[in-house]
Amino acid sequence: MDILSGLLNGFAVALAPANLLWCFVGVFLGTVVGVLPGLGPPATIAMLLPLTFSMNPAGAIIMLAGIYYGAKYGGSTTSILMNVPGESASVVTCIDGYQMARKGRAGAALGIAAIASFVAGTVGVLGLMLVAPPLAKFALSFSSPEYFALMSLGLALVVLLAGRSIVKALLAALFGLWIASIGTDLFSTNSRFTFGRMELLSGIDFIVVAIGVFALGEVLGNMEAREETQLLEVPKGLRNLLPTWQDLKDCRFAFANGSVIGFLVGTLPGGGSTIASFLSYGLEKAVSRRRDQFGTGVIEGVAAPEGANNSETGGALVPLLTLGIPGSGTTAILLAALVLWGFKPGPLFIPEHPDLFWGLVASMYIGNVMLLVLNLPLVPLFAQVLRMPVYLLYPLILGVSLVGVYSASGSLFDLGLLMVFGLLGYLMRKLDYPAAPLILGLALGSGMERALRQSLMMSQGELSILVSRPISAVMLSLAVVILLIPLFGKLNAWRLRALES
């Protein structure tokens, strides 16, 4: 079907007053859900499913999709203001976003997150509209060797996230990889590092570690400094509370970077928004002129990952709607919802239900605009949160973290784990170990190990499978190059010293 006529039909569906209302309800709920750590789009969509049975399917899918990408907008709020990742995809935003808030630029950070999310979200929908079928085919050629190479590339970015000491960064990453191995091995059903506790049988939840190390570690570290009840600076005036034109100019590449990487990683059934945001952040740091300042509050470091996790939603809908294959937790529920309503997502979904598909696409454009309009004016309001004295703010952070973790799992054991990782985060700050590599190792660890073992099973033990396939060979070589960059730096310094003497 011709794209233009399809899109026009879609807008006719999406602009119907009832569907507009559902779109607004969806994106609003999504933003709220994204802001609250712990409660995520999968849980919200599952709880709303019974209500959707009596709705028109177009309105229902528009609303549920709105929750999905709306949550990505909201996830950055607590990340920037309190160093508490709202979603696992927002962890990377904490790194520079929170530092910007500490320097008094919370408004700019929140604003650029909203703008980057809008740009990338729209690009994601464009991609879904224009290149979905051929891209889906390409994504099918990705299998375990390619996933292993992609994640190795992500892990190699540890080097770029290293800060001062690469050894400490690598140690942190290794520790993250170890935490990822806790649980039940998928291939042999052996229990690993469960210490006899059944709660550890399914591993340690990523968000527990992230909130513990980032948010609680930060609170504990600052409490120890015994600072007077200092307010974090919040500049006066609306102009200082939003990104400046200079900021927008600085982020030009970050917008493109986030959009493209997020969308591409999203189309891979084994990809995810966490990987997308890490890769996008790493790429931004690699090409930026201010790469040494990343981690201290650089605005591109917020724009890139935030854009990536938004365009990833458009990308994740590609395999769902063109092949009927869900890529992530939320798309799996959207699949279940479609099945419950009587549709069968698969390769014939778009040709047989063009109104539904194009209505959804059109509503995503509208939804992204609604979210920009919803989020930008709220930025100065949210930034005021930081005017609270720290003796109010830190207990708030603590409370939000505890409630968030408990609401996700209902388990007191997880709260205990949260405390343990909070202490770990504190220790890491004292000993100057960077936290980002640990989170990266945890995020990629299980996926990488699985991909490697699957690849070896496919090749019956031949490691060459990783380099005999073109895509994985290219990505692995890139990973090796990235890992060797600091070596070149050291060789150069050694050579210069040799020349001087």
């Binding site: 998928l186 042999s188 092949l323 419950l340 388990s411």
Partner: protein
């Protein structure tokens, strides 16, 4: 008949409706909790929510039913939660095959289905064996022959090594002497992508999931893991019809209650399940998902459990999995 006899008979007659009333005396007194082992959006969770909606629509319960998620531990956390609710008749759980298997292989999962109170078995999930549409195998026998010629080279995608996918593979391998590799993928989407993308050769897949891919011409079904031919697959032979004498390993779902529940409560929940399986909404659900109605009452379910786990132990031991219980 003298007065004393008459009084006795009258007393007995008067007592009858009382006993009947006692047996029917149990009704849930507060909101019923339906415990599932997945988080919101997982397979069991979606079924449980649909079940709660059906119970309300068909007015099967005098109270509301809510879904309580107790994820973690591959069902061990949910089983432990039910075990803690000893004697509470207003809590029930929705179990699946993983509840039966996890205690066999994980020492940390201490609560088995027998430690709780089995109530009823609800559905049996059949499966089909599928290959990519352009694969050179027209029948399962051709695939088995190819596997015999190249031992270990052909690949199957599936879940964990204790999942039904691998059990079917183990049974076929043992009965035919063929050998092929099994590659675990955690999600159904990735397994299907591996097959359609040409990275594995065969998979065991739920009929509902396969439906659309077959219609689009990406997949082909070689055989079905079922006692009778499913209505959606009239042309695919069952394993027995295809000449493979292996038992059909069902994937089951059903209801279980906490331990220490009096018989009257179990009877109430059995009756609830029986009425549920007769409602129109449930029949439609079964038909849409191509499940089989596998209703069994509590006593039969207990027998099924013993037989199923006994068989599982042998099959998994052959597969090299360590059995702990």
């Amino acid at each position: 008949m003298n007065i004393r006899c008459a009084t006795l008979v009258l007393a007995a007659l008067a007592a009858l409706p009382q006993t009947a009333a006692l047996a029917q005396g149990f009704k849930p007194s507060r909101t019923v909790e339906l415990v599932v082992h997945t988080g919101p959006g997982g397979g069991s969770d979606v079924l449980a929510r649909a079940l709660a909606v059906m119970a309300e629509r068909e007015k099967l319960l005098p109270v509301r039913m809510i879904v309580v998620n107790k994820p973690g531990g591959n069902s061990a956390v949910a089983a432990a939660y039910l075990s803690e609710k000893r004697g509470d008749p207003n809590t029930i759980g929705l179990f699946t095959g993983v509840w039966l298997q996890t205690p066999l292989v994980s020492p940390e999962a201490k609560v088995t289905l027998r430690d709780l109170t089995p109530v009823a078995r609800l559905v049996l999930e059949p499966a089909v064996i599928a290959v990519k549409a352009d694969a050179p195998y027209r029948t399962l026998a051709e695939f088995i022959d190819a596997a015999k010629k190249n031992p270990g080279k052909l690949k199957q995608s599936g879940g964990s090594n204790t999942s039904r996918d691998n059990v079917v593979r183990q049974l076929l391998q043992k009965s035919t002497g063929a050998q092929w590799a099994f590659i675990s993928f955690p999600g159904g989407g990735e397994r299907i992508a591996a097959l359609i993308g040409g990275h594995v050769d065969i998979m065991v897949i739920e009929p509902e999931e396969a439906g659309e891919h077959i219609r689009a011409g990406n997949m082909r079904v070689l055989a079905q893991v079922s006692e009778r031919r499913l209505p959606g697959f009239p042309n695919a032979p069952t394993l027995k019809e295809a000449g493979f004498d292996v038992p059909v390993v069902p994937q089951v779902r059903g209801m279980v209650a906490p331990p220490g529940i009096p018989a009257a409560n179990v009877a109430y929940w059995e009756d609830f399940c029986r009425r549920l399986t007769r409602t129109a909404s449930w029949q439609k659900y079964i038909a849409d998902n191509q499940f089989e109605d596998g209703y069994q009452n509590a006593a039969d379910l207990a027998k099924f459990y013993d037989e199923f786990t006994g068989r599982m132990r042998d099959i998994l031991k052959d597969a090299g999995v360590k059995i702990v219980r």
